[in-house]
């Protein structure tokens, strides 16, 4: 209840940034598994990649899949796969064969299928693809991918900044790899629909990251000019503040896709709906994960490569140590409850490893002057104004 309540109020203070090494390790393991599977197992490619013909007939009472299959085989045609798909009135038999050399044979098989199923020939749905079709679609999709990355990378670069573009695109790459890996591990069928659906997720994944970045951007405005919070803290605060929104976005994005998946995979069984819904479902989940646990932490890491931010972090921590001794509400300016939380949650890996001693002059722009004192644990954020804090604000998780 408490967790939900805090989640609802955007007052969670899960330490996404501070614990980022954990997520990195977890992600690294998952990515390795995915890579291994991609290399050693590969994909289960659909008919569009191998080329071939597909015949679909509504399942008739008293006709088994075996009957239909036998009818095709009696035509001297190899059956690549025969399956029952869909449910209820939409249940059908799906037979796949290799590509036909002449269309006459195809027509003969179609008639045989219709006869075995006791339906008229126009009830048989056929599709035929050449083996080059799948790769043509995929080539186009890869081109689209490159163009998309360039365009969106440029957009984020212009709209936000370079480091956000890099972090966002890196998270995107992770999503792609993870989704591909899941397809490979589980053995879901890969069709051109899947490939293109995957591209759509790119939009979603970035979209999520963009919203968080937007908040980080807002929170970090004027950050270097003041020394209240470190960049990591501000970023963590942004993630927490947008956590509910991220969850909502993912849920609201997933709900319609779930509807699509239910109908596409459950009731129709084969086709575009299923291909799209499945890849979107998997991709959106990975996208939600990466934008929370990877995109912003990477952004922070990138930022801390910048000397200004590194120095700023040290300055803040120094000042905080000083401020603690002089605790008395000098900083009791109105701030967001979330900001207050972030103070302690953002107790950053760096800050623990490399704590900076108090500077006696906690003025804006003052440099910590290198005076170091070990063991000063920053406990900022515990400023006096806890008016807006919920009761459990101090607890983690």
């Amino acid at each position: 209840m408490n967790t939900l309540r805090r989640l609802y109020r955007g007052e969670t203070n899960i330490d996404f940034i501070g614990h980022r090494k954990r997520w990195y390790i977890a992600s690294a393991i998952i990515v390795l598994v995915c890579l291994a599977s991609l290399i050693f197992r590969g994909f289960n490619f659909g008919i569009e990649f191998a080329g071939g013909s597909q015949f679909q007939v509504p399942a008739q009472p008293g006709v088994s899949l075996q009957d239909v299959r036998a009818a095709v085989e009696n035509q001297g045609v190899t059956v690549v796969s025969a399956q029952t798909a869909g449910s209820g009135s939409a249940q059908k038999y799906v037979i796949r064969t290799p590509e036909f050399k002449d269309s006459g044979k195809q027509a003969a098989v179609k008639d045989a299928v219709a006869k075995a199923d006791h339906v008229s020939a126009d009830k048989v749905d056929t599709s035929e693809v050449s083996s080059s079709w799948g790769s043509a679609v995929t080539d186009k999709a890869l081109l689209a991918l490159v163009v998309f990355l360039v365009v969106v990378g440029a957009y984020i670069w212009i709209r936000f900044e370079q480091k956000m573009a890099i972090a966002g695109l890196a998270a995107l790459a992770h999503d792609l790899l993870l989704t591909a890996g899941i397809y490979s591990v589980v053995g879901f069928e890969v069709t051109p629909g899947t490939v293109v659906g995957l591209l759509t997720i790119l939009g979603f994944s970035l979209y999520d990251s963009v919203v968080v970045f937007d908040k980080v951007d807002e929170n970090a405005r004027g950050l270097l000019g003041s020394s209240r919070y470190t960049y990591a803290e501000v970023a963590n605060q942004a993630v927490n503040q947008t956590l509910m929104r991220s969850i909502n976005t993912s849920l609201i994005g997933l709900l319609p896709v779930a509807g699509l998946l239910f109908v596409g995979a459950g009731m129709l069984g084969v086709g575009t709906l299923k291909d799209l819904a499945l890849v979107l479902f998997v991709g959106m989940l990975t996208g939600a994960y990466s934008s929370l646990f990877l995109a912003t932490p990477w952004l922070v890491d990138l930022k801390l490569l910048d000397k200004r931010y590194k120095l700023h972090t040290q300055r803040v921590l120094a000042r905080r140590a000083a401020g603690k001794s002089a605790e008395g509400g000098t900083e009791a300016k109105a701030g967001r409850a979330g900001s207050a939380n972030a103070g302690e949650s953002g107790a950053d890996a760096e800050t623990r490893v490399d704590p900076v001693a108090a500077s006696t002059a906690p003025r804006v722009g003052a440099k910590p002057a290198g005076a170091r004192a070990a063991g000063a644990k920053p406990a900022g954020g515990k400023q006096g104004q806890s008016r807006k804090r919920s009761g459990g604000g101090g607890k983690r998780r």
Partner: protein
């Protein structure tokens, strides 16, 4: 009601939105076919879709844009003449041509479309108007038939008849002119000459023997025709068919195009009951063999004309280049150059002879696929480049020069994918798509109601508005741009529900932030809007970019998906700006709405904060009333 300054004038936005909606639906109901249905894709109504890829014959390269468009026209032409209903032929990407057929077709029918389209230059051995045997006398063509070949037709075509001789003189040197003679019924003016020309030409042409399979089909057709065939064999020339013979020749008009193709060339040409419609619908490639004499149709002065053509001595591959210019003396002309001028010189020499024959006796037909695209008469022996002139419009020379250029690099077609969806499955997919949408929508609505309570109602209202916009756009796009809603398109809309609803989430979460900071709901709305607007625009831009890139670069069914996704994203911006935000602003002024139990916002504050804010809120409300 005097709104205090600084307060959002919601009515303006609502009026703007209402105007947009009214305008869209006015277009839907009062323009075009006035049917308020989007155009459905074949996967939703049943039909066949085939994707052909075009590559240059032999080299396997993707064609350039002009050539692909030319190829599309060739395929469209083939589909049209094969008699399938409502075909739609479009290009996709840089080498694909998609054929959509709503009615019944078999794969065997469509697979005929893939024969390579090749260009041939053939000497015209004889030509005759396509009467279809309906009238015993040659029909009145659009141009006055009484004037014959000598007199100029009333149209601009007549004007060229006179300057053609002079023009060939000025052409001089290497460039010689071909005169496209649009004058009608040329052959009918000198019927005996035309007839006599035929046998001599066939004697000179070393036509290759026909294949065994063709022999078999021919026998079958002859057997089917019975006595009519004997009658046909007695005909020496199409112009000498006695009217009383026509009833006996009637069975020919019932032959299928393929059966017509199996008949000997003389029969195809001589029998007037074999029409151009039948000849044009022969399988693509059925007259591409350069070693055979063939019969093909074209138009002379606007009238359909049957041509009997010699073996092809110059092929499309021999064309080096073709382009068009506007010459001051001859109007729009097409210039043609050859890789191997000798071949062309020989053909023109053979056709021109000593130049004494009538113009209609020295024509060269340019045959593309099954049809004669142009049949200019030869004005001299051409040792170099050639010029085709004759009262063309600009459009005509553009087409002709493209057709000739195309011949230089013929395309081969390969079937890439073929999908036949029965109407049963189509309807089923349609239902399923809508069901999926309904489930998705219901889940989102339920979630929003639970989570945002009264604000959830704002979400639902916004989704309804969005739906109304989307639907009207679909109908209009289908009507004016030929956009068809496919199953993938429906999936796009369903996924877009998430995008649309998410804009509201961004806004409401911001609102919650502000309220949590101690603001009244009322004062939080404008503040949160300013910030949410930025995020919504950023996020929508990224979604839209993804959709746009996909739409322009992807091929196959998923294009429809990208399209609807992009469309919904655009409409989402309109809905959020013109509807959701003003609606929430209005709601925030209602006291009832700010109550925590209804809006789901109030319980954000801790008890202490709540009481404080409640008082301020009351004050705020009171102040407003006073002002």
């Amino acid at each position: 009601m005097a709104a205090p300054s600084g307060q959002l004038k919601a009515s303006r936005y609502f009026i703007a939105l209402a105007l947009i909606l009214v305008a869209l639906y006015a277009l839907v109901f009062f323009t075009g076919d006035k049917k308020a249905h989007p155009k459905l894709g074949l996967d939703l109504q049943g039909g066949t879709t085939m994707t052909l890829s075009a590559t240059t014959l032999g080299k396997g390269q993707a064609p350039d844009k002009d050539r692909l468009e030319r190829a599309r026209q060739i395929i469209a032409n083939r589909v049209d003449t094969s008699g399938v209903s409502e075909p739609e032929v479009i290009t996709e990407g840089n080498k694909n041509i998609v054929v959509n057929v709503a009615g019944k077709t078999s794969e065997a029918d469509l697979s005929k479309l893939v024969a390579p389209a090749e260009l041939r230059f053939r000497k015209v051995v004889g030509s005759t108007p396509d009467t279809g045997g309906v009238q015993p006398s040659p029909p009145a063509s659009p141009a006055p038939s009484a004037s014959g070949s000598a007199a100029p037709a009333p149209s601009a075509s007549g004007a060229t008849a006179t300057p053609s001789a002079a023009a060939s003189g000025t052409g001089g040197g290497t460039g010689t002119a071909l005169n496209e003679t649009p004058s009608p019924a040329a052959a009918s003016a000198t019927p005996s000459a035309g007839a006599s020309a035929a046998p001599s030409a066939s004697a000179s042409a070393s036509a290759a023997p026909i294949s065994e399979s063709l022999e078999k089909r021919r026998e079958a057709v002859i057997a089917k025709l019975g006595p009519a065939y004997q009658v046909a064999q007695s005909i020496q020339s199409p112009d000498q068919v006695a009217p009383q013979l026509l009833p006996a020749l009637k069975p020919f008009s019932t032959l299928s195009p393929d059966e017509v193709a199996a008949l000997p060339v003389d029969i195809q040409y001589n029998v007037p009951t074999i029409t151009c419609a039948q000849l044009n619908a022969r399988q693509p490639g059925s007259i591409s063999d350069p070693k055979q004499q063939v019969v093909s149709c074209g138009s002379e002065g606007g009238a359909p004309t049957k041509y009997k053509l010699d073996v092809a001595k110059v092929l499309g591959e021999d064309v080096k280049d073709a382009n068009f210019t506007n010459s001051p003396t001859q109007g729009w002309i097409v210039n043609l150059s050859f890789k191997n001028p000798d071949k062309w010189a020989n053909l023109s020499r053979e056709v021109y002879g000593n130049g004494t024959a009538d113009k209609s006796q020295r024509q060269v037909a340019i045959v593309l696929d099954n049809q004669v695209v142009s049949a200019p008469s030869i004005e001299g022996v051409m040792t170099g480049d050639a010029t085709i002139y004759g009262s063309f419009t600009q459009e005509q020379v553009v087409t002709l020069s493209q057709q000739l250029k195309y011949g230089a690099l013929p395309l081969a077609f390969k079937m890439q994918s073929f999908d036949h969806v029965s109407p049963t499955l189509g309807t089923q997919q349609m239902k399923m798509g809508l069901l999926a949408g309904a489930i998705g929508l219901a889940l989102v609505v339920l979630y929003c109601l639970l989570y945002y309570r009264a604000l959830g109602l704002a979400v639902i209202a916004s989704l309804v508005v969005s739906g109304a916009l989307v639907y009207a756009s679909l109908v209009l796009l289908g009507r004016h741009l030929g956009y068809t809603l496919s199953l993938a398109g429906i999936a796009g809309f369903i996924v877009a529900i998430g995008i649309t609803a998410d804009s509201f989430v961004v806004f409401f979460e911001r609102l919650k932030d502000e309220v949590k900071d101690g603001r009244s709901v009322r004062s939080a709305v404008p503040r949160s809007w300013v910030r949410a607007r930025r995020t919504i625009l950023s996020a929508d831009t990224v979604s839209f970019l993804a959709a746009a890139v996909l739409y322009f670069l992807a091929i196959g069914a998923v294009k429809g998906f990208a399209f609807t996704l992009g469309l919904s994203t655009l409409l989402d911006v309109i809905v959020v700006f013109l509807f959701t935000h003003p609606l929430v602003a209005v709601l925030s002024r209602l006291n009832a709405f700010t109550s925590p139990r209804i809006s789901g916002l109030g319980n954000l504050r801790s008890d202490r904060a709540l009481t404080t804010v409640k008082t301020t809120n009351r004050f705020g409300a009171a102040r407003t009333k006073e002002s």
